[in-house]
């Protein structure tokens, strides 16, 4: 009888413990993980295309990103970055002072902790870039496209909730522009290496 009771208690305990472990695993698998990025960035364009041949980026652009979901070590966020370009070839871009590149993107990052302080985060993103040409307040129209980006960040935790990070990524954009057939390719794409440096503010402490 005693043996039976012991066995029953053992089974119940194991079930309870198992359930707790499952709950903990679920909690760890999916969570709301709030992180806010502010960064300065720099674009290097290459290839035979509009941004590369007819424009020159200013040294510093600006961006922000908000991560809100974490699934295992994958983080999902949305962001926006902007870079102002100076028109350098008026015969290709028009007699317009500036070309503003902006991109609204959705990013997935994989968090890999090298040490308690250092973290590497490879990432991919898809976005909706916009090219807006202006002279002063006068607009010369916009065109839009789709961007695909692949890169990585490395971050160092300065203190609880605050980290500094640097990132580099390759960004390919495909724009929707209609023009003479021989110049379609020139306007339709851009190739960039983007370098970013900034701060990350996290709501949750790093485990």
């Amino acid at each position: 009888m005693m043996m039976k009771k012991t066995l029953l208690i053992a089974l119940l305990l194991s079930q309870t413990l198992f359930s707790q472990e499952e709950t903990t695993k679920k909690d760890r698998a999916f969570s709301f993980n709030h992180q806010l990025f502010f960064f300065l960035n720099n674009h290097t364009n290459f290839g035979d295309n509009f941004l590369s041949k007819a424009n020159e980026p200013q040294f510093i652009g600006f961006g922000t990103q908000y991560n809100f979901i974490k699934y295992y070590d994958f983080k999902v966020g949305v962001g926006y970055d902007i870079m102002k370009y100076k028109v350098t070839d008026e015969s290709l871009a028009g007699n317009i002072s500036t070309t503003n590149y902006s991109n609204l993107f959705l990013k997935i990052q994989y968090e890999y902790n090298l040490t308690p302080k250092w973290t590497v985060e490879p990432n991919i993103s898809i976005g909706r870039p916009s090219i807006h040409q202006k002279t002063g307040q006068k607009s010369y129209g916009r065109f839009y496209g789709t961007s695909y980006s692949l890169g990585t960040n490395i971050s160092y935790e300065l203190m609880d909730h605050v980290a500094v990070f640097g990132g580099v990524n390759y960004n390919y954009s495909s724009f929707k522009v209609t023009t003479a057939k021989e110049y379609m390719d020139f306007f339709e794409k851009s190739n960039q290496i983007q370098v970013a440096l900034g701060l990350i503010f996290s709501v949750q402490k790093k485990p």
Partner: protein, 226 residues
């Protein structure tokens, strides 16, 4: 009411300045040569967009214009310019001028978007004359028969007009030739002037030709009796 007011403000603003469509790009190409068919290098080329002054109507405006693109001809005399497509323009102008003041200035005016094929306006090969090689031909129109009226004049030869109308004026119906006719032409050539004379007594139109010898003077005068 609020919406109507906002729409009015929006349309008023749109009516005042030139607007552009960023997703569409126009191309202008061509080549500059001199009278010996040699390419002209480093000549300035510009594209201007004009919106005429709108009188009366719901949205009067003071007009607007933009130098939308510029470049220089390359070693082969070729030029090419790309720019956003204007939305509310009246005409597009292609302008050539030489900063060294050796060659004549020239403008292709009244270009319409309908002149662009596959988003491209091709000006082909354009001859520019040196300023020193141009004379002003002044034709005195001497009306000897009061029943006659000149309805058209054209020149066959090396003409050096500074304005070239890609499309004629829209209201060209009441254009008549009266006392004189002026045209810039190249020096040292024999020109043929072709003209239509309308006889109001018979309502007949006759096409006639006249040969004009152009010398080396800066101004050449010729009297045409009709």
């Amino acid at each position: 009411m609020k919406k109507a007011f906002l729409l009015f403000v929006l349309f008023s603003l749109l009516g005042c300045t030139l607007q552009y469509e960023g997703e569409e790009r126009l191309v202008v190409t061509g080549k500059l040569i001199d009278k010996y068919n040699n390419p002209i290098q480093s000549n300035n080329v510009e594209v201007w967009i004009h919106m005429n002054e709108q009188q009366g109507g719901i949205y009067p405006s003071g007009g607007d214009q933009d130098l939308i693109s510029f470049t220089q001809t390359d070693a082969n005399g070729n030029f090419r310019m790309l720019f956003p497509k204007p939305i509310n323009e009246d005409e597009i102008e292609l302008k050539f001028y030489d900063k060294d003041n050796i060659y004549q200035n020239k403008s292709y005016i009244n270009i319409k978007k309908s002149n662009f094929i596959d988003y491209t306006f091709t000006a082909n090969t354009i001859t520019l004359y040196k300023k020193e090689d141009i004379t002003l031909l002044k034709v005195i129109l001497n009306n000897v028969n009061p029943a006659n009226q000149i309805e058209r004049i054209s020149l066959i030869g090396q003409t050096a007009e500074s304005l070239f109308w890609v499309n004629p004026l829209e209201n060209n119906e009441n254009f008549y030739y009266y006392d004189s006719y002026f045209h810039e032409v190249a020096k040292n050539q024999t020109l043929i002037m072709e003209y239509d004379v309308k006889d109001f007594a018979t309502q007949q139109i006759t096409t006639l030709q006249q040969t004009i010898n152009i010398g080396t003077d800066n101004e050449t005068e010729f009297t045409l009796d009709y």
